[in-house]
């Protein structure tokens, strides 16, 4: 029986109707927002467009390890300094968090009750206290270090004070590029040796000391070359002049606080992921590999870890993404990252909120997408390969 609403019960018609409705409402909303925004901008005399990127910034950035930054530089350069600082703290943080997280995850599973309880307490405390609070706490500890004049001296070359960590700056002389080339060549050849040795072992069962030969290639060959070339590397030591150190490499407390807080906070999450991953490998795997006479360290390296990684990598990816996004909290301690430098000071100076926020958001989105892309490739490479 066809009712007079018959055309409405037609699934195809209904789907088109609803979708058109949604698109229409969305377009209407967008039109409304754009028109009110342009009216508001005009009323408040806020400039639009991208020309502000070429204007001089007029402020200084205290921490810019890769690019030289002066207050006469443009806002575009502020953006690049911000991106580099965000990437710097994210990448170093991810590496440190992974190492610490794996160690803690394995220790948490140790048969020593006391040790595993200690890690448990650490994990619970650092997971359950807001990250922002931890960043601020680390920063407040670091700036209570002694003043520059009374700075702590470590190994005669490092100076620790409330202005940061001062260390010698390496100066590369002309011959150093050969050493770098040697290191790259050694890395490539040890990779090739590894492949060749694996193939040979699959075929003949003979083993080759891959690890020690790679170490020899990577460290000893460039080192010999380094001395043959007459050590083309010198250090510029920091010297106390007046109220501050001159020269040398300085790592600011803002960076150290961000680095410590991000890596310690994320390591707690990673250690739980690692623990769950290792526990997901069934007991029979361990027993079977012990039964065929594998050494304890080999069981971990060849049997447990590769299987655990399948479980570990997807949540690990989201931890890396979280850490990168959390690096935006640098604004709380004045770390000149993307949000603080470009999204904060530049935005306030130019007043062009929409443009600045759009750039910042787009940059974070592309960083997030890049991390997911590479981690997905890695994830695919370690999943079960059905033959």
């Amino acid at each position: 029986m066809r009712s007079n609403l018959g055309f409405f019960s037609d699934e195809k018609f209904r789907s088109i109707f609803f979708q058109t409705l949604v698109v229409g409402l969305f377009a209407l909303g967008l039109f409304f927002v754009i028109s009110t925004t342009s009216y508001n901008l005009e009323k408040r005399n806020i400039a639009t467009g991208w020309s502000f990127l070429q204007n001089p910034a007029g402020f200084d950035i205290s921490f810019s390890p890769f690019l030289e930054f002066k207050s006469t530089d443009t806002h575009l350069k502020v953006y690049f300094v911000g991106v580099l600082n965000t990437l710097l703290v994210s990448i170093t943080g991810c590496i440190a968090a992974t190492i610490l997280g794996f160690i803690l995850g394995i220790v948490r599973l140790s048969s020593n009750w006391l040790l595993s309880r200690l890690v448990y307490i650490y994990v619970e405390f650092s997971r359950n206290v807001p990250l922002l609070l931890q960043i601020i706490l680390w920063y407040s500890i670091l700036i209570q270090l002694p003043r520059v004049k009374q700075s702590l001296q470590v190994l005669d070359v490092f100076y620790i004070s409330n202005r940061g960590l001062y260390s010698p700056r390496p100066i590369f002389e002309s011959g150093f590029s050969y050493v770098l080339i040697a290191i790259v060549l050694a890395l490539i050849s040890s990779f090739l040796i590894n492949r060749w040795a694996k193939k040979r072992q699959d075929k003949t069962g003979q083993q080759f000391p891959v690890f020690s030969s790679s170490i020899g290639l990577i460290f000893i060959v460039p080192l010999i070359l380094f001395f043959i070339l007459g050590s083309p590397l010198s250090f510029e030591h920091p010297e106390l002049k007046g109220f501050n150190f001159k020269g040398g490499l300085v790592i600011r407390p803002e960076f150290i606080a961000m680095f410590l807080a991000l890596s310690i906070y994320t390591a707690a999450f990673i250690s739980e992921i690692v623990r769950a991953g290792i526990m997901s490998v069934s007991k029979g795997q361990r027993e079977a590999s012990a039964a065929i006479g594998l050494k304890q360290t080999w069981i971990m390296r060849l049997i447990i870890i590769p299987q655990a990684l399948r479980v570990i990598v997807p949540p690990l990816t989201s931890q890396y993404l979280n850490l990168t996004k959390n690096s935006s909290l640098g604004i709380a301690v004045g770390y000149a990252d993307l949000v603080h430098g470009f999204g904060g000071i530049s935005l306030n100076q130019t007043g062009q909120a929409i443009e600045c926020m759009a750039i910042v958001m787009a940059t974070y989105l592309s960083i997030s997408l890049t991390i997911s892309f590479f981690m997905n490739i890695y994830n695919r490479s370690i999943q079960f390969k059905e033959k």
Partner: protein, 377 residues
């Protein structure tokens, strides 16, 4: 046969306290060494921390017996040799930590709201509560009551939100964010799985966009850009602007969690519901969502913990939550230099809430595992 009857040593104890110690702490040489080392470290550390936090700490009076009103009167500032933490700062500023700058005459309203919040959460947390249905009715109307209680109206004097602060703001942000994000998250999750390509694409784009940017950029968006989007005359309250950002953020995460639950529902459930002639909404509301939400409660609690911690970010846009009040106190010359005490206290408050929530989520996970079996048969 006699040789066989030789006396054998009894097996090493594996039960009782000694057995437990042997297995867990002194299994072999390295294990014993590690245990001894850890015990030594704890022996060094624990007395020191107990002494600092409790035994030589000032709570209200310093060691001279005077009531502490500023940092100069703390024992540790009078005599650096002895004296530990100076908790008097928490004692003096306790009101601000809990209520912000809420007028003292009206503070009973906040207290009632706190008590009602506990009552409203009770039926959600405890499924076997007697008369749960009636308690749930109260839970549904609680947000309306709380709004009038805290903000004013209906005979109450108005207290503008810039007087709110401390734990009050933290709880308002956390609870409202979670409560509003829940229905929006369900809609987004259903939208993302929808067969209508336009709706699915729009929901996916929204979710992935929000999840790809840090919360702080959304807060900036709420603070600086939202006023530009609205027509003149509509002046949004600062707290509301932040709430919009927090809710958008949380609903994207909630949507992904609920989508995970939806994906775990076996297709037979959809087919059975459809074969009974149920419409899309009926099928989802009566059959699919109750099951999907049930299995996604533990991850929902986990994202809620995340949001609760993330509410601290509002201090960056100038709203004084618990951490904001702490920082404000530190900037006061009367309480300069007491950062460890203040941060310790704020951490402790957050820890109590988040640790409680995570325990609760573990308890639910255990209960669900032993409860229904979601077999695909």
């Amino acid at each position: 046969m006699n040789e066989m009857n030789e006396v054998r040593k009894p097996p090493v104890a594996t039960t009782g306290i000694i057995g437990w110690l042997r297995i867990n702490l002194f299994f072999n040489w390295t294990n014993s060494l590690i245990t001894l080392f850890v015990i030594y470290c704890l022996y060094q550390f624990i007395p020191w921390i107990l002494d600092w936090t409790i035994f030589s700490a000032d709570f209200k009076y310093n060691y001279l017996g005077e009531q502490i009103t500023n940092q100069e009167m703390c024992s540790r500032n009078l005599d650096p040799e002895n004296g530990g933490a100076c908790w008097a700062v928490i004692y003096v500023r306790f009101y601000q930590f809990i209520y912000g700058f809420y007028p003292k005459v009206e503070v009973w309203r906040v207290n009632i709201a706190y008590a009602m919040l506990a009552l409203a959460l009770l039926p959600l947390l405890y499924a076997k509560l007697p008369y749960r249905k009636y308690f749930l009715y109260f839970t549904y109307i609680f947000p309306v009551i709380a709004y009038f209680l805290l903000n004013g109206g209906l005979g109450f004097t108005e207290v503008s939100t810039n007087k709110w602060g401390g734990l009050l703001v933290t709880l308002v942000l956390g609870c409202t964010g979670i409560a509003l994000a829940f229905p929006i998250g369900i809609m987004l999750a259903l939208g993302r799985r929808s067969k209508l390509p336009v709706i699915s694409m729009m929901c996916t784009l929204f979710i992935e966009f929000i999840r790809g940017v840090p919360l702080i950029t959304l807060l900036f968006f709420g603070m600086v850009m939202l006023p530009l989007f609205l027509p003149e005359g509509i002046d949004m309250d600062g707290l509301v602007r932040v709430l919009v950002a927090v809710t958008l953020f949380q609903s994207a995460y909630m949507a992904e969690v609920i989508r995970g639950g939806l994906q775990a529902i076996p297709p037979g459930q959809y087919e059975a519901a459809k074969s009974l002639g149920m419409s899309y909404w009926r099928m989802n509301l009566l059959i699919i969502l109750p099951q999907a939400i049930r299995i996604s409660i533990p991850p929902i609690v986990n994202t809620s913990i995340g949001l609760f911690k993330d509410t601290t970010l509002v201090i960056i846009v100038g709203i004084l939550d618990l951490l904001g009040i702490g920082r404000g106190t530190l900037a006061d010359t009367n309480w300069l230099g007491l950062s460890y005490e203040i941060y310790f206290f704020v951490s402790l408050v957050f820890f109590i809430f988040t640790f409680g929530m995570s325990r609760y989520s573990l308890y639910l996970e255990k209960k669900l595992k032993t409860g229904i079996n979601m077999g695909a048969d």
